[in-house]
Amino acid sequence: MGIWFSLFFVVPLAIIVAYSFMKRDMFGGVIREFTLDAYKQMFSAAYAKIFFRTLWMTLVATAISILIALPCGYAIARSRHQTTLLILVIVPFLTNSLIRIFAWMTILGEDGMLNGICEIFTRLCFFVTQNKDGIFEPHKFMFTKTAVILVSVYMYLPYAILPVFTSVDRFDFTLLEAARDLGATKAGSIFRIMIPGIKSGIISALIFTFIPIFGNYTVPQIIGSTESYMLGNIIMDQIQKARNLPLASAFSVLLTVVSMAAILFMLSSGKKEASLKKMKKE
């Protein structure tokens, strides 16, 4: 397995790092010559804009997922039907991701379900207000940043719920009782005792949602438009259409570096916590 991995994972990664420093030639290949062109191109204004847009959209989607995941994980951990609820969370995710995205297309589309509901409501309003000339105009839900964020949250919500659930489940509930005995309110004890207690779970939930959304390709490709393209789309476009391998490689390196930074952040905070616990014990 070591050999397989070196051959098909480590070596290719090394190659894209190398490619990102090379010049492109006319036919979609590379010239073996050291240059920083690809990086210069990458940091030009147009691409920088896409980078920050990706970062912003990812952060919003991650924040929403975590905010939903916290009460969910808490509710599952406390429930008597843990296993059933966990299976319910996972089941939608056994369907093909493309099919789920397609379902969202049917919901968000111009004559889709959401617009149908809106239409009924506006008609109802017209009826109530006796407005006979009112015309219903379908909203444009598809191909917007909001739609991309919504579907991203949908796709990666379980990635957030499950780590939160695990850490709440492991949390020592006697601490909450102690806090209550010492006079804390219910909300106070949850926010001041529980949230710090499950910090590591929250951080891993953050990372597990942040990384895949950050490197996402399919959701912005299908749900979004050029206005909401993210880094993943740039890489694919450079490979499949522009055939600019060095630039694609440079973007991949950027994506790898950001993801690795996130992972290292997670690992280091985990270590910090472990060493703190050790100190307490001693």
Partner: protein, 291 residues
């Protein structure tokens, strides 16, 4: 799919605190105080609805009589078309099945051996395997796809079924490794000593003692690989050449105008995968019962 692993591991490796009597009591007491429709429960219910809405929409529209998004009546038109007029679709399903089974088989064999070897023998590059196998699970798929594509075209390999299998094996391997490792970790080393004492040699011990004992782990690794392989789109779309696997076919259909055949296909797939999940659960139960 790494979240699946985290659940399974969480369910298997229950923390000692959870079993602590005082903690149980505290948890129960905390529960008693909570109302049925507390804030967190409400959010959970809404979130579950949110997760299931698209599935219901798919099933609902698969019985739609007309092509558009307007519902015009119940019919089985699209199931008929799915069964009798979609040759390309069935071809892609066949390709997906071939790729899934072959790559799952390769990754299961390699991953299990690596897990066994890594846990019991000390050799150079041991920690290398451990850290490297962690990476593909956390890096975005696009990166693995791009790097594989550049590498494969660099060594002038023709893109096609072979390259898809290589790619899928690569991203399934770490998961098999993880699942089997979890099992091997809990394995009682004295059993191996006993088999040596009874006169078995290394190979006999491996095949007659170790592998049967960690079989549940191997099986769930295999199942997982199959599901992940059938599911994958991004990596496949980069290295597929002309071969159309199921996700690629679905993507092409979405791109070139919406067809309700996808809805009926999805419902059939949901049923199929539901069946597979039941199977997986059974093997997981065996996994849990074994320890």
């Amino acid at each position: 799919m790494d979240f699946l692993i985290s659940v399974i591991l969480a369910l298997l490796k229950r923390n000692p605190i959870a079993k602590n009597e005082a903690n149980k009591h505290a948890k129960r007491g905390w529960k008693r105080r909570a109302r049925a429709f507390s804030f967190s429960n409400t959010v959970l219910i809404i979130a579950l609805l949110f997760l299931f809405v698209p599935l219901f929409v798919i099933i609902f529209y698969s019985f739609n009589a007309s092509k558009g998004s307007k519902f015009t009546g119940i019919s089985l038109v699209w199931y008929e078309e799915l069964l009798f007029k979609s040759g390309r679709l069935w071809m892609s399903l066949l390709y997906s099945a071939i790729v899934a089974l072959v790559s799952a088989a390769i990754s299961t064999v390699l991953g299990s051996l690596a897990a066994i070897g890594n846990n019991w023998y000390k050799f150079k590059g041991r920690s290398y395997i451990q850290s490297v196998s962690f990476l593909p699970m956390v890096l975005p798929e696009v990166i693995m796809g791009v790097s594989l594509l550049i590498f494969l075209s660099g060594i002038h390999m023709n893109l096609g079924l072979g390259t898809i299998i290589i790619a899928h094996t690569t991203f399934c391997l770490p998961f098999v490794y993880l699942m089997v490792s979890a099992r091997v970790d809990e394995f009682d080393y004295s059993i191996i000593e006993a088999s040596h004492d009874l006169g078995a040699n290394e190979t006999q011990t491996l095949f007659k003692v170790i592998i049967p004992a960690i079989m549940p782990g191997i099986m769930s690794g295999f199942m997982m690989s199959v599901t992940m392989s059938i599911e994958d789109f991004v990596i496949t779309s980069l290295v597929n050449g002309n071969v159309e696997t199921l996700p690629i076919y679905v993507y092409n259909m979405i791109r070139h105008g919406v067809s309700p055949v996808i809805n009926s296909l999805s419902f059939v797939l949901i049923l199929l995968i539901g069946g597979l999940a039941v199977l997986l659960r059974k093997s997981l139960k065996g996994f849990a019962a074994g320890h």
